[in-house]
């Protein structure tokens, strides 16, 4: 009885998925666009009332105060940058250069450059980081942490998502959940969605997907050393991979398998010799 009902529900849900897919258009049924389309025709919404006058005065005052990048300097407060216009350039105290898209925000503290170079950001910002092996450059977004020594990359971040594109050098990307450190090099892009706890790492001809909620991992043409490094982080376990097997390419998907099962599958598939150095916690 229960199984029949489950099957019926699944069929109905698949029907809904089919229905949505058949009519799906990117950007359609967008609430913000719909609101913009609706309000000009509504009496009272398009008019410039007292509120919009206040808004205009505030905007004019802001424009006078901030030209290009607005830098607010207040006692004991972090330095804050806000890009009023697209492609706003700025040079940080360590000579790292950034280019901010309109609306992007960045802040750094007064002790920036002492032991590490840490900034937090929101919006779209391109970075060309000055190399300093002693003081890593750390970018914090609402959903991820990005650590570099010296490289060029772009970050786009909002409350639910962080996107990273690496132009050169090496970047360590760590989403909030699952907190796995993902080394990324030139031409790689990372997209992390916090709501679904999904990380996608793509490079030409290769892809990794990690889902922290369903505990699933997908590897598409990934070198075994990267697979093993990711598994070590994901399962918090030390693994050993013979050096001569490090560059073998691996493709497969795992959902909720134990680390022992995964290693067995890899070893059987590729005839490799990955071993667990310490038992799982």
């Amino acid at each position: 009885m229960f199984e029949k009902r489950m099957e019926k529900n699944r069929n109905e849900m698949d029907e809904s998925i089919r229905f949505v897919a058949q009519h799906y258009q990117e950007g359609a049924f967008n609430t913000t666009q719909g609101w913009k389309r609706l309000t000009p025709s509504l009496p009272g919404f398009g008019k410039r009332g007292q509120l919009s006058l206040l808004t205009r005065i505030a905007a004019a005052a802001l424009l006078l105060l901030i030209i290009g990048v607005g830098v607010l300097k207040m006692a004991n407060q972090p330095e804050q940058l806000y890009a009023e216009t697209d492609n706003t350039p700025f040079t940080l105290p360590d000579q790292t250069t950034i280019v901010m898209k309109q609306g992007a925000k960045l802040q750094y503290y007064k002790h920036f450059n002492k032991t590490e170079r840490r900034i937090s950001m929101y919006g779209d910002i391109a970075f060309a980081v000055t190399r300093d092996e002693i003081k890593p450059f750390i970018v914090s977004t609402p959903t991820a942490l990005i650590k570099v020594l010296g490289t060029e990359f772009t970050v786009a971040a909002n409350d639910n998502e962080t996107r990273l594109s690496v132009a050169s050098g090496k970047v360590l990307f760590t989403p909030n959940d699952p907190a796995v450190a993902l080394p990324c090099t030139a031409d790689m892009t990372v997209r992390y969605i916090a709501e679904t706890a999904t990380v996608n790492v793509t490079a030409p001809g290769r892809e990794i997907e990690i889902n922290g909620k369903t505990r699933s991992l997908t590897f598409d043409n990934i070198e075994l050393k990267e697979v093993v490094s990711l598994l070590s982080h994901f399962y918090k376990i030390a693994l050993e991979l013979p050096e001569n097997e490090a560059e073998l390419a691996f493709s497969s998907s795992f959902t909720q398998e134990s680390i022992i099962e995964i290693i067995n599958i890899i070893n059987l598939t590729l005839d490799t010799h990955i071993t667990i150095k310490e038992p799982p916690l």
């Binding site: 897919a21 009519h23 997209r191 679904t196």
Partner: protein, 174 residues
Amino acid sequence: MFFVNECFRKKKFSGYFHDHYRQLCLHALHFMGNADEAEDVVQETFVNLWDKREQMETIKSMKSYLYTAVRNNCLTRIRDAKPTSSLEMIPPDALLPEEDQIKRAEMEVRIWKMIDELPERRRKIFLMAKRDGMSYREIAAETGLSVKTVENHIFRAMQSLRSKDINAYFFFFA
């Protein structure tokens, strides 16, 4: 006082719009079968609501009102387009209980959002199969991927759409 009331109404109206717009568009889509027309009907419904804004406080369940208004506006449009319309021309969806129509629209919004959030390549492949009706072999030829990889992308897309919604779905429909 008039100014205060008008500000208050604007705020409420904006809340109704932002809470229900996407769901209502999907609700209308079942009747109209076309995204542009569905959106037109929903826009028209909100214009009508604003015209009657002074009575807005008297509406007990705004959600129920909006779904019914959208449904009626859709049926009016269908009938106007074909004046000789008989009962057979009314979409079967119109006969579902209102509560089921609301729940279905809410679930479909979540599915729509999940498709938005699929990784770009996976979304493209998924839509090629499910929207454009292409076979796995055709998709493989178009994208340069193997049939197995295409199959894997579609399987995983379906899996994430189902896993995201399954709990909510059982809660509503079980």
